[in-house]
Symmetry: D2
Subunit: 407 residues, 4 copies
């Protein structure tokens, strides 16, 4: 029999819940290796963690290497671990070739002094290291400045898959989309409970909202949530704000009367006139302060101190003076607002929801609401137990949510 | 210059509203003819009808013939009209070759004694004639019995396009689908008004409902409409009734708890057990009378004397004893229930809604509700001003409708 | 410490692949029990099976019972197993209360003489037993005749989850839908390979086809597959056959010219005239034999001896004489055609695909093609590794498949 | 009888085809006015234009005013017309209150010297006037500089509805979306004909493409069209270019192997590594020139001199150095590329297609391809006869188009 190459892998944490163990077994067999479970201690209580020591063998070193590399991505680590390797950034905005590309899962890196958690965890970034300070953090491309040490390769990097919570059944059950054909009453009740808990603990709630919130007449419910203190951060685009102002000034959204649902004369112009008014005033805040804007979501958000980031897009009319038109700046402003956010409600906007989702660590809970099942599937698919997707009318969702929150 | 062939066409009724006149002009030019408007009297008040006499010419008889034939389909008739031609049915269930194929628009035929309206107007039928009684009526294939006189060709057939009502703005405006991004509050209010008017005039309201009505937890609102007397006819399939009984017996629909939205143990079996119970009892009515069925849409419908037709399909489990499994019989029963219906609410079921839509004359108003825009577009496209389509959650629609009706 | 109740469960087979083991651990913890893995032998080669003996404990007998009952559904069995319990059918078409409701997974029952596989496995049925012959088989409701012994409860019933094949990567990888945004070329190539293998081994291939196959102009490619011997069974409804005949007689489908894509004069009547012709001829076969039907999918299927089942629905016009209008009869005919089928192509028809899917054992591979992702998700979700769903144009799929098969 | 107020309106052009006349009649009746057709000359040949003089009356001046104002929007003008009124821009980027808001239809303004066509026609702009030069042109907000004269009110503005072409049947017939259930072969053939005609006349063809073009493996067909000279302008975002480079460098798109359709190891990182390489090189052109980028759509476009505008968005990773991240600048660059474009192919991208659609005059033909019918409906709805929407797989569309073009 041929010589075999072996490595001892360790899995720790909620290795059953998180599917770490079966996925690892699967992986080994897929790649033609073999394994021997040397120790398996499974936690029997909710607070227990489990441990598995598993010897992996393969008939050549390359295969074993491949297995170990991919096992790491599942959260395994080797019994003996070496520190991360780094290279300095050479040119501004460019990572070193071979940089470690991050996921949104909690990650640690081994420095000389031991394991250090990576700060500002975000997917599709690189990891910068300050050895002196024993710190590590995610950097998007624009933060790659010459001289900064950046992790290369997989050595000394450990990710921790999220376990499935047994308390918050609603999030754990709803691993993927909630189809249009499911009852949503209790689900919305659970989301409201989660929001109350977060606020009681001074956590932040982020709303990402598309213009359909205004078109469907749901603006009043979002305003209510803001007034009740359930929104700390609002991400949106030009369209939400424009149609919200249009609704406040003219009672229409894209020329459709919000009360009657009927199109009105020259209504299509209203959004242009709304934009012009805000441009003339200088800003939404100026509209509020001069008494020109007396209602709507944007007014509520301004009056109640919500942190607002309006990120532009190439399809914008105007835009409003409040809209950030430089995309790097818009991302920076969104990233600054993310820390402390524990729940994100993503309401009928694919563009801004994807942008936001990319910036959120995996342990931020997300609720995605859209009438298009394809959008919900795309957004709710974050590879974690933390996402709920609802295929429904955004007006219906917000109305029910506001009612439950207020009850 | 070549000789030209001419015919004098007459348009009467709401020829501007119904787009009859511009469509005719368009048609003539498309086919290479020419026209001369000899008289155009346009009604200036709502109750006025208009009249247009228009001479059509073409350079050959065949083209002129073609123009005239197609102009008839638009509602034009020739200044002098000849009686319909008929042929007798030769074999059972088979129309004579060349039969006139009906639309869902009001149609008249010229018999020797003058114009006679066609009864039981329905699309995709033939027209049977009883000359002695001076009557004409639509027949589906299975009513074609040997000896019956059936109209062949287009001569002596006149259809009347529907005008766009100026009173009922909501139906006239909503010529096609209402997208998910429109406010629906007032629209639902208008539908409620229409329902009240119809009931005040003893008209009948038909509900066609799919199982999503139960799955989404909207069964209670449909029951409420039934109890309040706003449903005279209910068309559905096996699934609606099965899941309704399952909900009443076990609190689940397809194994999902209707209160919590959570899947439950062995829940998937519940629908099988529900079916078995009804089969053991003999019928839904027997379940109600023996006190085994104490809630749900089917119970409400039975108790309040709603005319129920449950039409089966090849995907049915069971089915319930109440389900009609022979499709010809199911169509017959549905046709018998249609007369007197003035409004049809089609709720989250494509199969039964299309079957129903095919049987309804064009002047029956239809409201189609589905979360899938493709379904709404398909159902609402009836070629008339009488259809409203709403892209929304059926639970949200029925909840709002029941609230408004009850208010 | 309180007394604990214990049971010894055994898992055998591909318990890692099939997720049996982690799901069981999960289940026990969810229900508040505890477990102890007493033995775990994991097969290291593809042909090896694994074995796990696991002791489950709970603090009360009811919980333990619940755990054991649900563990069975996952494929576990108890170390010592008792024979099934049965009760006789009392009334025709009614199972005994408490009947065991089947899944589509391979199932065995323990009779006095040992384990017996259940024949004609199908979901949502009961299991009939002939103790004398030591046989067990699935029965739909209509086969429940008085006196027949039917399994009640879960005792003595064992289901075997399917393992994920490592050879047929394409089916194992594509556990769920293939989105519109994925390349499909190689996938279609793999499906073609599978079709060749099945035919080389004299397995049967089933096509379930909706009218969109004809509307999109893909009929010619389906005909080609039939002519090449790759279709043994065809399930469809009235519409496919009607539009196929319409296309053959008039070159249109629902009045749209299949070459030009343009609507044609009086085209909508064509499907009515096509129906009338077939009704006059007596059957599709008669149309073929008398030379009236010289092309199309139905002709190909008749000429090449494909087993055809046309199951009607309540929305059918006509229908054609060949359409089975009694739904119990239609289901019987479909069930008779299923044995021997190893692959089912479900093409743009939700109604007939669901009906078919309900009848297929879990080990029949299914390929679901539809342009609507919601339909694909619904159809491909069979809880097994055997399903592929493609979100694409059916014309594009069939064209490519026919090209690859022919190459 | 009360005194009535009257105005004489004139309609000229293809007033039947363009539905101008019936819409005007409808409008007058809707607003409670009355009309009298004083002259109606209908062109009988394709090249003839028609003329209608129609007296409109209302019982008060305000109603008459309203009618006249809205009639203008339909293309009517008054028998005697007065010059436009203008006001100067007061603040940069702000139009004068009451500005005339443009549509995408051909528009003229009356200056002292007569009617002047508006240049750079685009919807949702204002009209700037240079009286000295007798010129008028559309300006977006950012071109509103203090002192510029801008049209206010409707007086002296005339729009010309597009007529429905009788030659280009395919565009005129396909007024709205082409459903997934229609044959598309001939339609694609007609689009190819149109492309050949445009190129023969040195017109420009614009392609707006989303990343699905690369994901589905259709990049090679788009490259082929570019190489054959059928693409002069390419609008896209960061994602198309990134995945195109990823495909060229690694054979994957978002980590899915484009040949096999299978996900590959660490594939998700590939797009990050692709971005990093281009950032290191400095630009896509540098990648091409240094031989690092040897295939793909972007390479084809660069090598063949296509005018490329890559407009960023807030969801971009990276982005590539070639992507314009300031949205005002991106719009400017897109606007500069539009003149001379006669056909726009919009392929699987909603964001960039809407941005582009907003900038195109109504007479530019657009073909919108997406697998999501809701996207196609939204994009194809340009209120003109110039739009075709196809619900289909973009790979299938481009493959067929490239084949036909090359044949």
């Amino acid at each position: 029999m041929a010589e075999r190459h072996a490595a001892l892998l360790v899995l720790e944490g909620h290795i059953i819940d998180s599917m770490m163990l079966p996925q690892l077994m699967d992986l080994v067999m897929d790649l033609g290796g073999a394994f021997d479970i040397q120790e398996l201690r499974v936690g029997h209580r909710k607070t227990d963690t489990s441990l598995c020591r598993i010897e992996v063998t393969a008939c050549d070193a390359a295969t074993l290497d491949d297995i170990v590399r991919r096992a790491r991505e599942l959260g395994a680590h080797t019994a003996t671990e070496e520190p991360v390797r780094t290279e300095p950034v050479a040119a501004p905005g460019v990572y070193p070739e071979g940089f470690y590309s991050t996921s949104n899962l909690p990650t640690s890196v081994m420095l000389e002094g031991g394991w250090v958690p990576v700060e500002r965890q975000e997917m599709d970034c690189a990891i910068a290291i300050d050895r002196a300070a024993a710190r590590a953090w995610c950097i998007p491309f624009y933060e790659a400045v010459p001289g900064l040490e950046v992790v290369v390769g997989h050595q000394g990097v450990r990710v921790t898959p999220l376990e499935r919570s047994r308390q918050m059944e609603i999030f754990s059950f709803m691993a993927s989309e909630v189809s249009a054909e499911k009852p949503k009453k209790l689900l919305i009740g659970k989301i409201a409970d989660e929001m109350r808990t977060i606020r009681a603990e001074s956590g932040r709630i982020l709303v990402v909202a598309g213009p359909a919130v205004v078109h469907t007449g749901a603006g009043r419910y979002l305003s209510r949530l803001i007034e009740l203190g359930y929104v700390q951060v609002l991400f949106a685009g030009n369209a939400l704000a424009v149609h919200d102002v249009e609704a406040a000034l003219f009672g229409t959204a894209l020329g459709v009367n919000l009360e009657s649902g009927l199109p009105i004369e020259h209504g299509h112009e209203h959004h242009m006139r709304a934009i012009n008014r805000v441009r003339a005033a200088g800003s939404l805040r100026a509209m509020v302060e001069t008494g020109q804007l007396t209602g709507g979501v944007m007014r509520s958000a301004i009056v109640h101190g919500v942190e607002i980031v309006l990120a532009g897009s190439v399809r914008d009319d105007g835009p409003l003076p409040d809209v950030i038109t430089e995309m790097g700046e818009a991302q920076r402003r969104m990233r600054e607002a993310v820390p402390g956010v524990r729940l994100a409600l993503m309401l009928s906007t694919m563009l801004h929801s994807i942008a936001t989702g990319n910036m959120l660590p995996a342990n931020v809970r997300t609720v995605c609401v859209d009438i298009n099942p394809a959008v919900v599937t795309k957004l709710a698919d974050r590879g974690s137990w933390q996402s709920i997707g609802l295929v429904t009318d955004v007006e219906s969702f917000l109305r029910e949510l506001a009612q439950v929150i207020e009850a």
